[in-house]
Symmetry: C2
Subunit: 490 residues, 2 copies
């Protein structure tokens, strides 16, 4: 008998792949496999449980249980007194009448929209915190003990309430804290009913793109500008109109066809750092009011301006409800918190909440509750004050180092943010970045943020998460780079 | 002077809307508002700081700071010796040349896809835990102390590592734990590289719909079937083909046009509770292999089968890589954890990770790390064993109560799950539900899960989260309902 069952022996040996299953499960798996691959054909008779038990040195109860399980699953048919038989034919024709005239689709074809998304290359955030990689906040300076205490309090207090399904718009207490913060600090006009809590501004951009943009709709983008937004709008099939940026921010061109949406980082343009001038703000808000274009104001890092108070947001100027305001806790608290927010015109609240529920249900409740406590108890304001001071001193050190060690680099704007924009001699970026990388220093390129070919060479150097010694060492390395000959000649 | 500045006085009074701002900010806000609404025209001269300070009983430093801020923002132009002037005209024509021939779009028009999503009504999960509302696990029986300890350990150990941006595919340790669990318990064929961690199976369905379905593509659905899946596929513009369900699960019709995707809940069909027979599994897997259709296997609650061990999953039968397997921690752990997983054919891994990164970046790291610890330390398996016992006893109590008190109700299938499907006399559901609701008992209707009009009347009664006393009391109330006359006559 044994010679007919080599597969069973193998499966039951300790070295078999299913070794962390019980004996019964391993016997079931081996029998299923034998039926599936045709070793046991339909209607063939299985050995009696007594025989197989003896043969495999198993208890008869185990074999009996395995047969019962396989019968329940439909692999085996049992007739009292007659024995157990293979109940199915698992290979070859199913014998069912089938429509003939079907055209087979290529096995891996994605949808058109899916292919567009894959072609964007996605939005991969930098996982490294080395100099000068990431636009990350300093997580070492985070008040971990406070956060842990607040988390514990919530986990002890009423854990069940935070484990249930939650409101797809976000917890009321957090929406209140966000609205209060935005009204007081950013000049946003809103009440908590307009706030939508999301996992990230990327999710906000993706939802807005899905909800507002038909394929072919025009979107005005700052160029250079934020790649994550470009990706979301491109994924929706929109036509992107890259507009130049000067010292007053985006240069609008009202002679262009009316766009469906205008994407702006007006407080601190990404990546140049410029602030959109009041004149242009008013012109854009007025334009949106008259044309019905949407303006998306991505206020991603206004909390970190070091020389002046940040300009109040564009949304506060908008009396026609055309501005959608976005902010995130990824930079003010930490990236893996997965909390961001949109302030929506009333008419968009219900559509966005519905779309959000279809996309991923609701945001995690514990993270929301702890964040709300952190804000309500004043920790958020205190943390921002401290981080502003800390990052300002690091910004100053960056400027000092660049001046001393990178004579060929020109700081574009140093008013704020977690990274510094630096212009390089034309055509030098690739070679300088190659040298830097070989010496273990990351120098994120402007090129990733630009669409038009005539764009400038430059770096976007993350500094906020770095200790002074790490900044000095990174800058020392950059100081040893050799400017390529063709760049020196210009 | 004061008479010219009523708005300022109002803004500075304690009852004004900006009362939680500082004096400087309140003065700025009032001046901005006056400039915006035209009370202060372009080029008009602002009062000298000394005069205004006296007039408003403010320190001159405050007024000076406010003017400086407004100058930085572009509202005000200051000339030493001459005074401060309004720098912008904020109402009326901007004077910029504009394209004339634009057609104004309706202000609130959503995109076609956006309107489709809004029209689905979204996926609102039941927020109530009253009898017999939700398909929720029992959160009171959750091992809160263990979870809190694991959370604390991670928050103490290396908090920074869990606060950074993370891998959009999910943490390696969690993907390993999930793969190990699925191979051993569900017969899934996979390695951790095929596992994608998501916030919810809803997110998985939405991403798959976006990536795989073009508008008009056919999708086979079980009917009655899971509404969240219908919503995701409808939102992608797919054509839904509702197929009937019998005691062997979905009844496939291979004479229909080849669908792009087949959505199945084969282990425990939602909501009927039937298991897809082996013969049909094999036929469907074979069909998908030959036609190139995708099969989405939503294994949403196989952990909670009470009489037999669950049938191994469909994905394990698939040697042609056409089956996408979905599972969730919403029912095995808790809904607001926001963690679920997909096991993807190799060829879909990179496209799905890219699409995921565009949608919302990456899943929260702390929740992933704690879940991985919970699994690796054996708590997950122990919790499932306990919950199975607990829910089985509650299921038994439900059956007993139904038999005793609801003679007009017929249990459809009671093999498992967090809710029980009950058939009602034809045409009685609406009236019975109305009566139940008026007595404070929720009776989720089958109707929400059905597409075809000929469908049966029935309820889907959630019981797993309820204490025995709550079950008894809810059933006692249902026992007092009066069957409508037309239903009694049939």
């Amino acid at each position: 008998m044994t010679s007919h069952w080599p597969g069973l022996w193998t499966a039951l040996l300790p070295s078999a792949p299913h070794q962390n299953m019980g004996l019964r499960e391993r016997l079931c798996a081996a029998l299923r496999e034998a039926i599936r691959n045709g070793s046991l054909a339909q209607d063939s008779r299985l050995p009696a449980t007594r025989v197989l038990a003896q043969d495999l040195s198993l208890s008869r109860v185990t074999v009996e249980a395995a047969y019962a399980q396989l019968e329940a699953e439909g692999y085996v048919r049992r007739h009292t007194g007659k024995g157990s038989f293979v109940a199915v034919q698992t290979t070859g024709k199913s014998g069912v009448r089938e429509r003939k005239s079907r055209s087979l689709v290529p096995l891996m074809r994605l949808s058109q929209r899916g292919q567009t998304i894959v072609d964007t290359g996605g939005c991969m955030e930098p996982l490294s915190l080395q100099a000068f990689a990431a636009g990350s906040p300093d997580l070492r300076a985070f008040p971990h003990a406070v956060w842990r205490q607040l988390t514990n309090r919530r986990l002890r207090q009423d854990p069940e309430a935070l484990m249930r399904y939650g409101d797809p718009q976000g917890r009321q207490e957090l929406r209140e804290a966000i609205a209060q913060y935005l009204v007081a600090s950013r000049g946003v006009r809103c009440d908590p009913g307009q706030v939508l809590v999301l996992t990230s501004s990327q999710q906000a951009l993706q939802l807005l793109a899905t909800l507002l943009l038909d394929p072919g709709d025009q979107v005005w983008m700052e160029d250079p500008g934020y790649q994550g937004a470009r990706t979301a709008f491109a994924a929706a099939g929109a036509g992107l109109e890259p507009l130049p940026v000067d010292a007053e921010g985006l240069v609008p061109d009202f002679t262009l066809p009316v766009p469906r949406l205008i994407y702006l980082t007006p407080t601190h343009q990404y990546p140049t750092g410029h602030t959109l001038s009041l004149q242009r703000r008013l012109a854009l808000v007025d334009y949106a009011k008259r044309t019905g274009s949407w303006i998306v104001e991505d206020d991603y890092d206004s909390e970190f301006l070091y020389d002046n108070r940040p300009t109040p947001c564009l949304q506060g100027l908008d009396i026609a409800d055309r501005v959608i305001y976005l902010g995130t806790f990824s930079k003010t608290l930490f990236p893996s918190l997965r909390l961001a927010y949109a302030v929506l015109p009333q008419a968009l609240v219900q559509p966005m909440v519905t779309a959000r529920s279809v996309c991923d249900g609701h945001p995690a409740q514990l993270a929301q509750a702890v964040t709300a406590d952190f804000m309500a108890q004043g920790h958020f304001a205190a943390h921002l004050r401290l981080m502003r001071q800390l990052y300002r001193s690091r910004r100053d050190l960056m400027l000092e180092c660049i001046q001393q060690q990178l004579p060929w680099a020109q700081v574009l704007n140093s008013s704020g943010g977690l990274q510094l924009s630096v212009l390089l001699p034309d055509g030098a970026e690739k070679e300088l970045s190659r040298q830097a990388q070989s010496k273990g220093v990351a120098t994120p390129s402007f090129a990733n943020q630009q669409v038009r070919p005539a764009a400038r060479d430059g770096w976007l150097l993350g500094f906020a998460a770095l200790q002074p010694s790490e900044i000095r060492e990174g800058m020392r390395v950059l100081g040893t780079l050799k400017l390529p000959a063709h760049a020196r000649q210009r």
